[in-house]
């Protein structure tokens, strides 16, 4: 026994053990301890390994098939149309019998309708588009009654519902916080010293906490939004409530475009808005589309989903983010702190139901953090499929 003890304690052995540990960590196998993937399908917790976290050849495959579909006839071909609106790129893919002139004309009408809708949504929901409803709302003084349009009214109604449903984890009134951290067209901080102060973040978070006081009025075919009276004065400037509907707007657009696909009679295809919200109808191949979810901490993907006739939304702290002194600052803001989230949930995906709701839910789950999010999913999201990835702390 003493001999074995001596061998183990020998400094050379200790060195080699250290070398082996370093090799283990640097090879990436240590990431099995670093990340966790949580889903309500097919089981509650799957611990990721280096193999299925980042290497495409070892993807987990899960089916999210909302209803059965039949493969399209062989004569179907695929047409693709790209759009640029709401500060994002989107793509419409439709499979149909385009050899039939009536179908081809119908697709042209669909393209025009989608283009016009996206343009109108840009003029309604974009925070950076001068003259949009959100821009006008944000520019107005506290307590103002602002004329808005139906899309703003409907999107904000959905936002107010999701704010209440998620117990304020989703809050679109964080525009000033998002801007303060260098997003939405603001200059990105070059160093930690350029980040907003704790005092400013707290003040902006207090302003955002008054979101539920925003009133929506529909009368005589006109729509209005009334801003809360609450203001904060910090660092020589007065702040009132301002909106960033980026966390629900793309999903809202996807819901409307899903309606257009139905209205124009196309049942095979998908509309993908900025890889953030998407509606998948049936695939012309075997009925299912294969959707791959991006690895939030590297190249490749971490999950493969087979989807048809469902809407998907995803959020991640890697979408819009920067790293200063080794710390990641993302555009996903905690409404409580007014600062980028530090909850450990680095990406969340929700499937099923409306895309607008899913869009808001993915942000809310990231804000909630692992424990609260898993309870929320098991209690309130029984009709949705949810996947989120956490950094283990």
């Amino acid at each position: 026994m003493e001999k074995i003890y001596n061998i183990i304690m020998n400094k050379h052995s200790a060195f080699l053990v250290c070398a082996l540990s370093a090799a283990f960590i640097f090879s990436g196998c240590g990431s099995a301890e670093k990340y966790g993937i949580y889903t309500n399908i097919p089981q509650n917790v799957i611990t990721l390994t280096a193999g299925n976290f980042g290497f495409e050849n070892k993807l987990e495959t899960t089916s999210f098939i909302m209803q059965n579909s039949t493969p399209a006839p062989e004569k179907f071909t695929v047409k693709t149309e790209e759009f640029y609106a709401m500060n994002a790129h989107s793509v419409l893919v439709v499979a149909a019998d385009f050899g039939n002139s009536e179908t081809a004309e119908r697709f042209d009408l669909l393209k025009s309708a989608v283009g016009e809708l996206l343009l109108s949504l840009d003029l309604s929901l974009s925070a950076t588009q001068t003259g949009s409803c959100v821009y006008n709302f944000n520019s107005a003084p506290a307590g103002s009654k602002v004329v808005v349009d139906a899309n703003f009214y409907n999107a904000l109604t959905a936002a107010k519902y999701m704010h209440s449903f998620t117990e304020a984890a989703y809050n679109p009134a964080v525009y000033d916080c998002v801007q303060a951290f260098g997003f939405l067209g603001a200059d990105r901080p070059a160093s930690v010293s350029e980040l907003p102060s704790e005092e400013k973040c707290s003040a902006l978070a207090r302003v955002a906490s008054h979101f539920s006081e925003t009133e929506l009025i529909a009368e005589n075919g006109e729509y209005y939004a009334v801003k809360p009276l609450y203001t904060e004065f910090v660092e020589g400037k007065e702040y009132n409530l301002k909106l960033d509907l980026g966390g629900i707007g793309k999903g809202y657009a996807v819901d409307l475009i899903d309606g257009l696909l139905d209205e124009y009679g196309f049942e095979y295809g998908y509309f993908n808005f900025a890889s953030s919200s998407m509606v998948c109808k049936s695939s012309a191949g075997n009925g299912n589309y294969t959707v791959t979810l991006r690895n939030p901490r590297g190249s490749g993907n971490y999950l493969k989903l087979l989807v048809n006739n469902a809407k998907i939304s995803t959020s991640g702290d890697y979408f819009l983010s920067y790293i200063l002194d080794g710390k990641r600052y993302s555009s996903v803001i905690s409404p409580k702190t007014g600062k980028p989230i530090e909850t450990g949930v680095i990406t969340a995906t929700v499937i099923g139901g409306s895309a607008a709701e899913n869009d808001a839910l993915t942000t809310a789950l990231m804000v909630m953090g692992r424990e609260k999010a898993s309870v929320f999913v098991s209690e309130k999201l029984l009709d949705r499929q949810v996947v989120f990835v956490c950094e283990k702390v």
């Binding site: 070398a19 090799a23 793509v91």
Partner: protein, 154 residues
Amino acid sequence: MSLEKVVLVKEDKGFKARDLIVYAVILLLAAVLFTTVFLTRDTNPLKGVKISVDGEAVFTYDFENDEYFKTAENIEIKEINGALFVTVRAHGGYNVFKILKSEREVCVTDSDCRAKTCTYMGVNDNNSVIHCATHHVKAEPLDYDADGGNIPFG
């Protein structure tokens, strides 16, 4: 230090047969671990990048042969410290793409677009794409196949 301990320390010096067995086992494990990891690495690195405006290719760069092709006049190219800086002017504005040759990565370092969302995007594998919605500019991998059956999401 007692005489007994001095003897023990002296005996402990140098390599013994058992030590060598332990070292060999550890080194073998390390070798197996590295081999496994390297065999499962992404074997399909970014081969090149294509930049397009309104769907029309204006610039391509091939990492394999370190070659670029400019197919439009409104493109400025500079090489600084092993990185290519490609300025694309479109729809009344500009985007500056930085192509890191050795890292096989592409990013946008500057743009006068509305939300500057493109400056947070990068192309570092065959699934990622940079879009500038304001200027209708796209940078995508040369091998990118949007209709390849998979829909990259997130």
